[in-house]
């Protein structure tokens, strides 16, 4: 069918780029990971943590364990023994295998950080985007509310909430969720403001899309990239803060292992048995570094494109 447009069968094109490869974004990420050594290291570390956490968790469900020893059983070896092949991280003052304890504690931090980040992402994204699109009083209200959160040191607030709720890992997770979402809301708001006046948002209105649908289908997907990059770096921070709460004794209570709590319990032995508090500390640091590297790599990979 000849079109009148150009007088030829095929319409004229202006310089068109060739069709894109499939799954472009995934490829960009994978490529970035391959080329950026730091990001690769981060990805490996993070994967190790997740796999370990998952393994421990599933093992627990099946009433078995993957660690060499039970994390709570005492006297599996001589007390305060140095690291050896039998006890990779040595033993603590009650003769428990430190390595088993460290590994067994992995799901705690992973679960808490995932939950807190997921909550913050979802709540922050919705609130921030809605405020940006709505403007006016709603926007002002959100800004001032987040201002209040920013004015108070996060850890102190989390502690206060934690103490009010009582110790325990769930309560700590709740406390962290409460203080964690404001930066996400602000970030989402900033990104949403950038696109709020894009023509495609107005075009969506002309297509009959309601406000909520525009938010969900047009706004959120277009701001997700920035938020996700921020979240990936931020996960490390949750781990750190949670470890801090755990150090203060607000999370998991002995005899159950938890990294922060272990650092606190073992720090008395710092001089004579230095590896004891160091091992859990190093693992915490590793977790934070891993997520930081990964997030940074993602930022470079996606931020540039």
């Amino acid at each position: 069918m000849e079109s009148e447009i150009t007088g030829e069968g095929k319409p004229a094109e202006d310089s068109t780029p060739s069709p894109p490869p499939r799954h472009e974004r995934l490829r960009t990420i994978l490529h970035a990971l391959r080329s950026n050594k730091g990001a690769l290291a981060g990805a490996i570390i993070v994967s190790m943590f997740f796999v370990t956490a998952l393994a421990v968790f599933i093992a627990g469900l099946l009433h078995t364990r993957i660690t060499p020893y039970s994390p709570i059983q005492q006297d599996v070896g001589p007390a305060l023994a140095a690291p050896s092949w039998a006890h990779l991280m040595g033993t603590d003052e009650l003769g428990r295998d430190v390595f088993s304890r460290v590994v067994a504690a992995t799901p705690n931090d992973m679960a808490v950080s995932l939950t807190v980040i997921a909550f913050s992402l979802i709540v922050g994204a919705f609130l921030g985007t809605y405020a940006a699109f709505h403007g006016g009083l709603v926007d002002e209200a959100l800004m001032r509310m987040t201002d209040i959160f920013f004015a108070i040191p996060g850890l102190v607030l989390a502690m206060a909430i934690g103490i009010a709720l009582g110790p325990g890992i769930t309560n700590m997770a709740i406390a962290l969720m409460v203080i964690w979402w404001p930066p996400y809301a602000r970030l989402a708001r900033g990104e949403a403001l950038k696109i709020a006046h894009q023509n495609y948002i107005e075009a969506a209105r002309l297509s009959g899309a309601g406000r909520f649908r525009i938010l969900l289908e047009h706004a959120l997907p277009n701001i997700s990239q920035t938020l996700l990059v921020y979240a990936s770096m931020d996960t490390g921070t949750v781990i750190l803060i949670y470890a801090g709460l755990s150090y203060l004794g607000l999370a998991v209570r002995p005899p159950f292992p938890d990294w922060g709590q272990m650092v606190s319990a073992y720090q008395d032995y710092m001089v004579s048995v230095p590896w004891l508090p160091l091992f859990p500390g190093i693992v915490i640091a590793l977790g934070v570094i891993g997520f930081s590297l990964l997030g940074d790599g993602l930022k470079d990979a996606l931020g540039g494109s």
Partner: protein, 332 residues
């Protein structure tokens, strides 16, 4: 304004106005600052069914505000809009019904398409949301629409992999997919190369003929306005200064601004260097502090005392040809 014949008018605006409040904060020194910005003032026009009306003007004249007001994206603060007999400014308007019959193509093809939506999803969005059609029916409408604009093979692409002209064609496909009666086009070809522009213009004319579409085209390009439109609305600083059939206005513009505008338009003719003979001084006035009386008077070669004191009304100087100027006889 009498109708001599029963014109079939699809859209009419009556004294349309749009005002934006200016935020001054609590600064006591700002007490004497203006409180409002008048982006549109007293805009009246009629769009006959099946015809093209071009709104011609430069930056700050309010043409985009006009489009957004008519489509109710940014509703007017005064005046009326009558769309096919229905008053859009009175009472609650069902926007879904409205958008089934009135669509818009935006100025910037890059920002008009959601970068995360495939072409077929972009084009199908109005069909899905505004019509009660089944999935198959929607698909069919989308494919037909893409075929018309010549992008049948591009349904799976993302906007990032389309050229400017193709993006604009997708936007047009989206607008026509639900078979509206009227389409507003905001600078549809400004961002495009000459050849692509020609394609798009041809496409628009073809669509108008095939589907009896009515167009309101907003442009600052006089050649495009002259080529496409049956009627011309010349705007300056929020007001309509001249309005009437395109041919006569281009051939013999009467408003001093229209005269300046048309003589500034570059034509591909080195023997007629009108551009270098134009003598227009000054700049578009600030919308916050507009000149008193006729907004064009500080720049007008014919201006006199009355021009700064009184805004001229719209006078019909020929059948269907309206002018807003105190000295209509000076340019006759």
């Amino acid at each position: 304004m009498e109708d001599n014949q029963r014109d079939d008018v699809i859209l009419e605006t009556r004294r349309l106005g749009k005002q934006y409040p200016i935020r001054r904060g609590f600064n006591p020194l700002a007490r004497n600052q203006p409180r409002f910005l008048q982006a549109l003032n007293d805009v009246s026009m009629k769009i006959p069914r099946g015809k093209t009306v071009a709104v011609l003007g430069e930056s700050g004249c309010g043409k985009t505000t006009l489009a957004r007001a008519i489509t109710l994206l940014s509703p007017p603060t005064s005046g009326e809009i009558i769309f096919d007999g229905q008053n859009l400014t009175k009472g609650k308007v069902n926007t879904k019904d409205l958008y089934r019959r009135m669509q818009m193509v935006f100025q910037d093809p890059d920002s008009a398409l959601d970068p995360r939506f495939k072409v077929k999803d972009l084009v199908s969005e109005p069909c899905r949301r505004l019509l009660d059609a089944s999935k198959e029916e929607v698909n069919e409408m989308v494919m037909r629409s893409l075929e018309i604009v010549g992008l049948a093979d591009y349904s799976e692409r993302l906007p990032g992999h389309l050229s400017g002209g193709q993006k604009q064609r997708v936007a047009i496909a989206r607008a026509i997919a639900i078979r509206p009666e009227m389409i507003l086009l905001d600078e549809p070809t400004s961002a495009l190369d000459a050849s692509v522009q020609a394609q798009i213009l041809n496409l628009l004319i073809e669509l108008q003929n095939d589907y009896n579409l009515s167009y309101l085209i907003i442009t600052h390009n006089i050649s495009v306005a002259e080529y496409l439109s049956d009627m011309l609305v010349v705007m300056y600083a929020g007001n309509v200064v001249e309005y009437g059939p395109t041919g006569p206005i281009i051939a013999r513009p009467r408003h001093p601004y229209t005269i300046a505008l048309i003589s500034s338009a570059p034509i591909p003719n080195p023997w007629k260097r009108n551009l270098l003979n134009t003598e227009i001084m000054g700049e578009v006035p600030s919308a916050v502090h507009p000149p008193s009386g006729c907004k064009f008077h500080p720049r007008c070669p014919y201006a006199d005392k009355i021009c700064g004191e009184q805004t001229p009304g719209m006078v019909e100087i020929a059948p269907g040809h309206f002018l807003s100027c105190h000295f209509a006889d000076k340019t006759a």
